[in-house]
Subunit: 470 residues, 2 copies
């Protein structure tokens, strides 16, 4: 099953990371200490914030990273690496991650250009982890964000993640279960995620159960004979309203019904009426099937009597914005005792130099439009060496010299952090279609550093593009 | 790293598969033999065909499927399974897949409602594999299809998959490497896919290499000192045209340059001109960065001198259509010696009953608009028991009683099959925005069976919805 064992971890990378690694090694640069930062270049138009997620899997990967003997053998014979000296592969066989990592904790609200993670390590170690770190952090961040949008519009009604079957392979489903939970989902249908992560798992029966019995009543009866009053019955196999009538007529024990097709507004109203008339006000209505935050908002806006939403495809694929423009950029390099800040100036893809920190200013801030106490007002993206008395700093030390600094929080803690962060983000910045983007400024020190790096490569200073003037 | 070992395979499922399994077991239905079919309900508006992929991973999963002792323990304690008799879990501990599978070979062109796969097995085995089969087949099919669209417009120029960092986790990246290759890509940047699957891997250097040297010339020189004439230089870190000038000025050996930003049409023309003027007509130009089939078609339509395209995000996330409406439906059940066809009649989600086969009619067909010889003319979705002398049948026996019938084809064979299939699909059905959808009819026998099942549940026969009348 192509198990993702530590031995294999080293090869989960793009080939150019290894050609560069060999180049660093052969040109004597392997002693250089590099600092890379991972951030999202710009938010998709459909998103006004991101909810960071995926750090725990990154930490696990960094601690287990190695190249097994067969993997090293494969690389020795790789045509692209044919010009490389054999000693490089011996070096690679002993490679472990010995660097340091600062990161924004999972469940933190972040914005474009703000580093989610900073790696400082010998350049080869810092380089080859790029591919895995990008895939892991951007995907989990994508799904946690999407989940939080659904949870916000659900007005306290539960959202459960049902998407593994629609995910980009089953492992993506597992990652989606985890990050959806951080984003505020009550649970998942994915049993492996329940087993591995302790996430509550949900599920009762599918159409196949219904169809495996010749009569719908019989299917209901047999199910409730096993699961009793905990049964949630799927009523839409033939006709939802008729299905509910049959369940009631049989006087069966059940605590919920699931609608999986049709017009949820009309059907939920009709079903609620029948249930209430039968004295079953206790029975909950669960809806699933092609739902997303817009559909949920519309249903609840019209007071559809739905108690729980099962969401699949749109959540786990983040269908309206299935990818983030994640980048992992070299921002600083220390070579022969000399530290140098680095930046990239490719057209519309500028990267900012230097090890950075995100300073978040909450509460009333002198000289600015007052935000309610505790609400986030704006961020300053500055150099890690800067300090601001009134700001919270987002990046925390996670790994030092390859070792975890302190245990990572539990998933419940991460879910609580996400909820707390979102509560402090002013509502106008987290509406489904937020027109008012949260302000992120670059500090003067950061701008100055950019200009000094730029002046090395370009004769005349050019105004930095893509910056928000406030 | 949460290795996907066989012991864990059983839990890669939705909880309702297991609650149903326990229900089947406890109600004595576990001896029933069920037939399920996996198909795509409708094509995304942006797709006019699908290229089937993912079967090899499905076969591997089915052969390794089991529940380990810790996993069984977890299920015994699961609150949702609390009402289940303890003997069920003993049964589950010994469960293996013993059924049969028919499937469309990977690399075959398929359309909406056509089964990609048919499973016939004791109902519990057939039921619990649903989640994994859907995730695996629909994702790989999604990516193989997307890749084939890019390859078709590339007019023989190569497409290489560079997307692992943008995939929904690194395992999705691996799956994308595989399915992109089936769809016609020349290779991948994913080293693990190269190691596991023998796919050619591509890659040279990133911006971090360039930025790790203070001077661009120095970065080029050091790289070519290792890789010599095989070097492909990334020239856009500061300015693409200047970058090429520097590489030429240094008289360095290299066989290609990579553009990763800016206006590819203008830049590739400028770069080609400089290279040619310097007598380096041999140097290839590679473009990467936010490319998709539309951008490639436009660039080549304007004769951009680009030799190879590296495609990431849009390919591995299939950004414009990141999910397929895959379904896995019970179509037939054998209980106590009695066989019964089953269907679902939920609003706009009808499923067709009975074990089916896809009959593809190539060449000139009497009484129809003539298609060029060998070109596909139309399909008939019929019952597996039907025969048509002039048709090719798409579903083949793959697994019988849990055992593979014959070795699966190599990836090269699958890539060749895909190319062959697409060549036989008339061009009007495979254009990027095909308005003329390929005709798939339902056979009379299939329609009759649907009506006979329907008449059991509904008083008056209703015209079948969603059928194409030709």
């Amino acid at each position: 099953m192509n198990a993702l064992t530590p031995q294999r971890a080293g090869l989960i990378t793009d080939l150019y990371e290894l050609t560069m690694a060999a180049g660093y090694w052969q040109s004597g640069k392997f002693r250089d200490v590099a600092t890379f930062e991972l951030s999202v270049r710009s938010l998709p138009p459909q998103r006004s914030y991101l909810l960071a997620a995926g750090l725990e899997q990154v930490v696990e990967y960094l601690r287990e990273l190695r190249f097994g003997p067969e993997e090293i053998d494969f690389l020795r014979k790789h045509p692209a690496l044919a010009p490389v000296k054999p000693e490089f592969f011996d070096f690679l066989a002993g490679l472990r991650f010995t660097g340091s990592v600062w990161a924004v904790p999972e469940g933190t609200v972040v914005f474009a250009e703000e580093p989610l993670l900073r790696v400082t390590a010998p350049i080869i170690e810092a380089q080859i982890v790029e591919t895995y770190l990008l895939a892991m952090l951007t995907y989990q961040t994508t799904v946690a964000t999407k989940a939080s949008r659904m949870v916000q519009v659900a007005q306290g009604k539960g959202i459960v993640e049902f998407g593994t079957r629609r995910a980009h392979g089953s492992h993506a489903g597992w990652l989606a279960s985890r990050s959806s939970f951080i984003g505020g989902c009550r649970g998942t249908s994915n049993v492996l995620a329940g087993f591995d992560l302790g996430i509550p798992t949900y599920g009762t029966l599918a159409h196949s159960w219904m169809m495996s019995f010749e009569e719908e009543e019989d299917a209901f009866r047999q199910f409730t004979q096993v699961y009793g009053a905990d049964s949630v019955l799927l009523v839409d196999t033939y006709d939802s309203v008729e299905g509910v009538r049959k369940a009631l007529h049989g006087n069966l024990p059940f605590r919920g019904v699931r609608l999986d097709s049709g017009n949820f507004l009309e059907t939920s109203r009709a079903v609620r009426k029948i249930l209430d008339a039968a004295g079953r006000a206790d029975v909950q209505i669960l809806a699933s099937g092609d739902l997303n935050e817009y559909a949920i908002a519309e249903l609840l806006g019209q007071e559809a009597p739905i108690d729980l939403f099962g969401v699949g495809t749109d959540l786990v694929t983040s269908r309206d914005a299935p990818a983030l423009s994640g980048v992992y950029k070299l921002v600083e390099i220390e070579s022969g005792g000399q530290k140098r800040a680095t930046a990239k100036f490719s057209e519309s893809k500028i990267s900012y130099p230097g090890a950075k920190q995100v300073f978040r200013f909450p509460g009333r801030f002198p000289g600015r439009t007052a935000a309610p106490d505790g609400q986030y007002d704006h961020d300053v993206l500055g150099l890690a060496s800067e300090t601001y008395a009134d700001a919270e700093t987002l990046l925390e030390r996670v790994i030092e010299n390859g070792e975890l600094v302190r245990p990572l929080p539990s998933l419940e803690q991460l879910q609580a952090r996400a909820a707390g962060n979102l509560a402090r983000l002013p509502a106008r910045h987290r509406q489904l279609e937020a027109s008012d983007s949260y302000p992120v400024e670059k500090s003067q020190a950061l701008r100055d550093l950019l200009e000094s790096v730029r002046s090395h490569y370009f004769a005349a200073p050019v105004a930095a593009g893509g910056e928000k003037k406030r």
